[in-house]
């Protein structure tokens, strides 16, 4: 079954930032002086922090340990005439379980609606990493896949066809070796193109649901789309509701999805959902 996705509201210009200022502020990210916000997601130990450091010129410690970044880091850079704020999310295997880290990463992508989500994957173990990538693509359609550690893949004789991957996933795919500063210019360019709307992603969505799930979605998704016309990921929200995800239930109740006036200033709440550690 293919559920038609909502296209952006007609008055939204293609190159305007898509992020949700109000929710971002609530998440502890101040967007003053920044044009776009970029989230960095990925499995643990894929070199996500190295990519972050390479993009921002910061020197956050990165180790060969699955699960290093526990507090989030944020930094920034300029590309062309635009200033990008970049947020390093905790490394997770999935966005569907209920650990603290996964919730932080998920909430940021879902409610903050970053202009671009860069999914960092380990080229040498693509299958496992695509699990998270596909989950991210369910939530957002503004993503870039960063095929990191491509040097290791090459060293071991693996060939990754990034064009085919890009076609299958529907988002730009950039091979990088962040430790050697390889491919970073291309990554910056891809981020820029997605952020400014020059490249419009048509992300892959998961198929093959069981008939019972299909029926349930057919009932729930139209209801969601009617209530929240601007929701870019009604199908995913429906799946989470069917899984009994209480965080999503709460978001439905308090209207976090319904706030269409995305660029109206919002006072930050006193209890922030996400504490960011600013390293810049």
């Amino acid at each position: 079954m293919n559920i038609k996705l909502q296209t952006p509201a007609p008055d939204a210009c293609a190159s305007c930032p898509a992020h949700h200022i109000g929710n971002l502020l609530r998440l502890g990210v101040n967007m003053e002086n920044w044009d776009y916000v970029v989230a960095l997601a990925g499995n643990p130990n894929t070199g996500k922090s190295t990519v972050f450091n390479a993009l921002t010129g910061l020197r956050q410690h990165t180790g060969n340990w699955p699960g290093k970044t526990v507090t989030r880091a944020e930094g920034g850079y300029s590309y062309g005439d635009n200033r990008y704020k970049i947020v390093d999310l905790p490394g997770t295997y999935s966005l569907l379980s209920t650990s603290m880290d996964e919730e932080v990463a998920r909430d940021f992508i879902l409610f903050g609606r970053p202009d671009v989500t860069v999914i960092v994957v380990d080229s040498t173990r693509l299958e496992r990493n695509l699990n998270l990538a596909l989950q991210v693509l369910e939530i957002t359609d503004r993503a870039v896949l960063c095929l990191n550690l491509i040097d290791e893949a090459r060293r071991h004789g693996l060939q990754v066809d990034e064009r085919r991957l890009a076609r299958d996933l529907g988002v730009p795919v950039v091979p990088t070796a962040a430790r050697q500063d390889e491919g970073l210019q291309e990554l910056l360019k891809a981020i820029h193109e997605v952020a400014t709307g020059q490249f419009v992603c048509k992300p892959h969505r998961i198929k093959n649901e069981a008939p019972a799930i299909k029926r349930a979605l057919a009932q729930l998704v139209p209801q969601l789309e009617a209530a929240f016309p601007n929701l870019p990921n009604a199908r995913w929200v429906a799946l989470r509701l069917l899984d009994g995800d209480q965080r999503i239930v709460k978001a439905i109740q308090n209207g976090e999805f319904g706030d269409l006036n995305a660029h109206a200033p919002v006072q930050p709440e006193t209890n922030l959902e996400l504490q960011l550690e600013v390293v810049s």
Binding site: Q60, K68, L126, D161, E209, A210, L242
Partner: protein
């Protein structure tokens, strides 16, 4: 536009009723769908040269470092090298720093203060109190950390540490803990605060709490000097001179091993009592080996670990120095405040085989264990009225071990005092930097309190029993 409450309510009701229809296996089905797609896409994109699941070099290294024969010896060898490099390598820069900060700059500052006519109390408060305590902490703490952390980080970058967790997991499992605790414990030998931060890699809530609470039993860098000094003057002195070095070294190692034993014991009992209901899951990924980037590692580990820990220690040591100086110099009726406190705590101290001075020193040393010995010396001189000190509230260390021993004997120390001091140094509350770190990491006042109070209570219990049994057996008072 606001969404009608009615509409949201209807959505949630639909979802709830649908959940009864789709069955309990929903989450499983969803994950299967995702992975089916992931496999399909990955298969189309990746061409493998052959059907090798892993790379040859990784496999060879793994065979070696996890082998039944070489696995453990290799591990012991590597960590011995790390500790040896740390201890022997830190001696030289430590004495440079001590010469510079304590013997050169301190007198210069005093002269400078005298030259501008600074009143004695301000000069004492700032220079003898705050400056000296900070300088002491820096000279003792900085060099070992600047060596230990980069070495450790290199092993980490290479990918060896997860293999250590893999090798040792069975031992930790038996005490209800996680193999990765081996690493946070090892890190704790450098600094408990860093060890507590290192528990982040343990992703199971129960095992992580266990690792945090027991990290204090890893004898940290700030406590090694106390152990070494007391062991060499009291225990090393029991045997002929040529054996002295060996015996005192062995007794320090025995204390450190006792700490490991306590780690296991406390882990075991915590996992069966206080932490019984906490969630426990095990997962340990063994990442591929990567050639470490030496310069970058040294840079980031010095910036990230060493300097941050040092900075926190300094922020706590400075006020501590000020308090020590004040309590030693503010007098009520001719007796300084600190002497009142010492006299008050003395009966308790004697009961557990220590004395009031040691207990007071441990209160002062909550910010940084490095200042225990200088504080004990200063207070002992103050109490006994013996010569040789640097003045009330001024920390110092004696050049010769014989002088130190004589000073301690003058205050009524016995071998029991020395043994119990070594035990108490191992088993007492974590330093304030560590307590603060525990609070930041757990976000819980309850667990911070448990981690802080449990060891100090245990310390009193252990020293109490050792003292009573010692006195019974030795038949002395």
């Amino acid at each position: 536009m606001t969404v009608q409450t009615g509409a949201t309510q209807a959505i949630l009701e639909t979802a709830d009723s649908l959940r009864w229809q789709i069955g309990r296996e929903f989450h499983e089905h969803l994950m299967e769908d995702i992975y089916t797609d992931a496999t399909h896409i990955a298969d189309r994109a990746v061409t493998r040269p052959d059907e090798k699941p892993r790379f040859d070099l990784d496999r060879t290294i793994d065979r070696l470092v996890t082998s039944r024969i070489f696995g453990f010896p290799l591990m012991i060898l590597l960590f011995t090298i790390v500790f040896w490099l740390t201890i022997s390598g830190a001696n030289v820069p430590s004495s440079w720093l001590a010469t510079l900060l304590l013997d050169t700059i301190h007198p210069l500052l005093k002269q400078g203060a005298a030259a501008i006519g600074m009143p004695w109390w301000l000069d004492g408060f700032l220079i003898d109190g705050m400056y000296l305590a900070t300088a002491w902490v820096v000279s003792v703490m900085l060099p070992p950390m600047a060596i230990f952390f980069p070495l450790f980080t290199l092993l980490e970058d290479f990918g060896y540490l997860p293999r250590v967790a893999f090798n040792l997991d069975n031992a930790f499992k038996k005490s209800g803990a996680h193999g990765k605790q081996a690493l946070s414990m090892m890190m704790g030998f450098g600094c408990n605060a860093a060890g507590v931060v290192a528990t982040r890699v343990i992703d199971s809530p129960r095992e992580r709490l266990i690792a945090i609470i027991t990290n204090n039993f890893a004898l940290c860098n700030g406590r090694w000097p106390t152990q070494i000094l007391i062991a060499s003057i009291f225990i090393g002195g029991l045997v002929p001179a040529y054996l002295g070095g060996l015996i005192s070294a062995l007794s320090v190692v025995a204390i450190a091993l006792l700490g490991v034993l306590f780690t296991f014991l406390v882990s075991w009992s915590l996992s069966r009592t206080l932490l019984k209901g906490e969630v426990s899951t095990f997962s340990l990924e063994l990442p591929p080996y990567r050639p470490p980037r030496i310069w970058q590692t040294i840079y980031t580990s010095v910036i990230d670990r060493t300097l941050i820990v040092l900075w926190r220690a300094i922020t706590f040591a400075m006020p501590a120095g000020a308090v020590i100086w004040l309590t030693a110099n503010v007098t009520i009726g001719g007796t300084s405040v600190v002497e009142y406190v010492i006299n008050f705590l003395n009966p308790l101290g004697i009961l557990v085989g220590l004395n009031g001075v040691i207990l007071v020193a441990y209160i002062f040393a909550i910010p940084a264990n490095e200042i225990v010995i200088p504080t004990i010396l200063m207070l002992t001189v103050l109490v006994t009225g013996a010569g040789g000190g640097a003045g009330a509230g001024v920390m110092f260390e004696l050049e010769s071990q014989a002088d130190t021993l004589a000073l301690f004997y003058a205050d009524g120390w016995t071998l029991l005092t020395a043994v119990n001091l070594m035990l108490f140094s191992l088993i007492h509350n974590p330093c304030s930097t560590t307590i603060y770190t525990i609070y930041k990491e757990t976000g819980s006042k309850k667990w911070t309190a448990v981690a802080s109070l449990l060891p100090v209570v245990m310390g009193f219990v252990v020293t109490f029993f050792v003292a009573q049994i010692w006195r019974l057996v030795a038949g002395i008072g």
